[in-house]
Amino acid sequence: MSILLDVKNLRVDLPTERGMLHAVRGIDFQVRRGEMLCLVGESGCGKSMTSLALMGLLPARARRSADRLQFDGLDLQAQDERGMSRLRGARMSMIFQEPMTSLNPSYTLGDQLCEALRAHRKVTAAEARERALYLLERAGVPQAADRLRQYPHQLSGGLRQRVMIAMALMCGPDLIIADEPTTALDVTIQAQILRLIRELQQEFGTAVVFITHDLGVVARIADRVAVMYAGEVVETAPVDQLFDQPSHPYTQGLLRCIPVRGKTLPGSRLQAIPGVVPSLVGEVQGCAFANRCSQVRPACSVAPPFAEVAPGHAVRCVTAAHPATLAEVA
């Protein structure tokens, strides 16, 4: 599969009262056409800033830089605001956690769905309505024709998220960025919405960058995974490999601290990761995870490179990249 999105050394800096906050600190990743890449990490790891940086939707005071930021061969850094507006909604669209923040409460769903298409394509109102109806039905919205006349507040949270998914698909985009789209939903609705996203992604061949903090969701939906910590991608691998052979100590720690049926003894102490995430205000010296890592060694005082340990599996950790040297030290 060809590369749709190519990101090299992406950085996002935010000036704050206390100094420069390095929210995203030089990350590399690629998204292939039609694949589901999960960006997973805890709060403050930079996953949402990454998605906003890709869409050109960062807050005005934020500074973005990258060695490469290419979408289907197009240099996103060379696009002005008009160029980005032409891309957004048409070729790359976004689904947010809380649909109410992205749906306009004073317009009907039909108006909003059709606008998404008519802003970018020369179609008649009737053609737009037909596509809206088709996508609402595909997104599992019952009585779709009636819904077109309704307002966002008349829908439940699960239905609103289905409408958002339909809206994101209106122009047939190549890429959808979904930022925690099911976090606010009940578990049964979450399972339904995830299944819907996966089905539509495969049916339409849309690439998805799926942002989440939930490793259960990652395991069930991803093709590939990029684990983020303190503004960096610390490990990337195909989903099976990441869960079978997690190589970064942070990934290993995350997987160990979730209780799993049949693996964790009920009532036993969980293996929590000690300590807290370092502040990203100012420069981080060496490996950002070193102060919480059980495998820390002198080499960790130098920022580790992002090194491939197996085909398609890269890790930002000297211990994982050179396990033999660790044995020598020990």
């Binding site: 578990v187 609705i189 399972a191 490793l215 395991a219 099976d240 601290c257 929590a272 807290v276």
Partner: protein, 300 residues
């Protein structure tokens, strides 16, 4: 079986579910908390000239929690689990039914006496701590309100409790906005425990926390239970966490308990179709299993 024969406690007929259902506890001497056919409805205003409707948030819930036991209460949003928690804490009077602590009915007018026996921990450690008080102040409030000990004794008790929940000394003079989410939840736990209650009602205590921090707080809850012999009512939508922490599980749907049983009974052999659907929806971190096909509408 004092509670069962106390007519004051049983002003409504005893439901068959309490004694006969699988996983229900027998004997009353070791019962820490008992809910007897507890119900709560809310009036709905529908307009000036329309008749007021009502919504039944909790319907005939009967539950028993043994001393030192952890009962998990699971269900989706709107199922009534938070309304139930408020009634237990005396924050909301039931429409009918009773709450018994240690076999005695609680008088909703005696909130203070109740607070010494049952305390809450809430989901959001950001809104549940007073932003203008220091950590030590926040944890000392219950002692001052209840006039427990001298000022010096209160200071010592606060420090001891903060040490126990893992708050380093330098944080005791800090304000909530200087703390991480996990530290705030530790403070909320210290405040809940400083009066040495028997029962903690934990309402989604780790839902707002990152997973690595969640593990630290769950470990703390396990340690504190062992230390003080606490009884927990653990309300959560996270079935992985529930399975790890609880002895028994009650499943709530549309205001009713649809199934209850031991952890093994519920997680290995759930009987009620709603329980089975909830279990199927839980996404364990196991790739290759794919996404379940959930027919939620069957329960709408």
């Amino acid at each position: 079986m004092n509670a069962m024969t106390d007519s004051r406690a049983w002003n409504l007929p005893a439901p068959a579910a309490t004694s006969g259902s699988p996983g229900a506890v027998g004997g009353s001497e070791d019962i820490a908390l008992e809910l007897c056919v507890l119900s709560r409805s809310f009036k709905l205003k529908r307009g000036l000239f329309k008749p007021a409707g009502s919504i039944q948030a909790v319907s005939d819930v009967s539950l028993r929690i043994r001393k030192g036991e952890t009962l998990g209460l699971v269900g989706e949003s709107g199922c009534g689990k938070s309304t139930l928690a408020k009634m237990l804490l005396g924050l909301l009077p039931p429409t009918s039914g009773n709450v018994l602590i240690g076999g005695k009915e609680i008088d909703p007018r005696q909130r203070r006496a109740l607070a010494r026996r049952i305390q809450p921990i809430f989901q959001d450690p950001y809104s549940s701590l007073n932003p203008r008080r220091t950590v030590a102040d926040i944890v000392g409030v219950p002692l001052r309100l209840h006039g427990v000990g001298t000022a010096a004794e209160q200071t010592r008790a606060v420090k001891a409790m903060l040490d126990l929940v893992g708050m380093p000394e330098r944080t005791h003079r800090q304000y909530p906005n200087q703390l991480s989410g996990g530290q705030r939840q530790r403070v909320a736990i210290a405040r809940a425990l400083v009066l040495r209650p028997e029962i903690l009602v934990c309402d989604e205590p780790t839902s707002a926390l990152d997973v690595s921090v969640q593990a630290q707080i769950l470990n703390l809850l396990l340690d504190l239970k062992a230390e003080f012999g606490l009884t927990y009512l653990f309300i959560s939508h996270d079935l992985g966490v529930v399975e790890h922490l609880v002895d028994r599980v009650a499943v709530m749907h549309r205001g009713r308990i649809v199934e209850q049983g031991t952890r093994e009974q519920i997680f290995a052999a759930a009987q009620h179709p709603y329980t089975r659907m909830l279990l199927a929806s839980a996404l364990t971190p196991e790739p290759g299993l794919g996404l379940p096909d959930i027919d939620r509408e069957a329960f709408a």
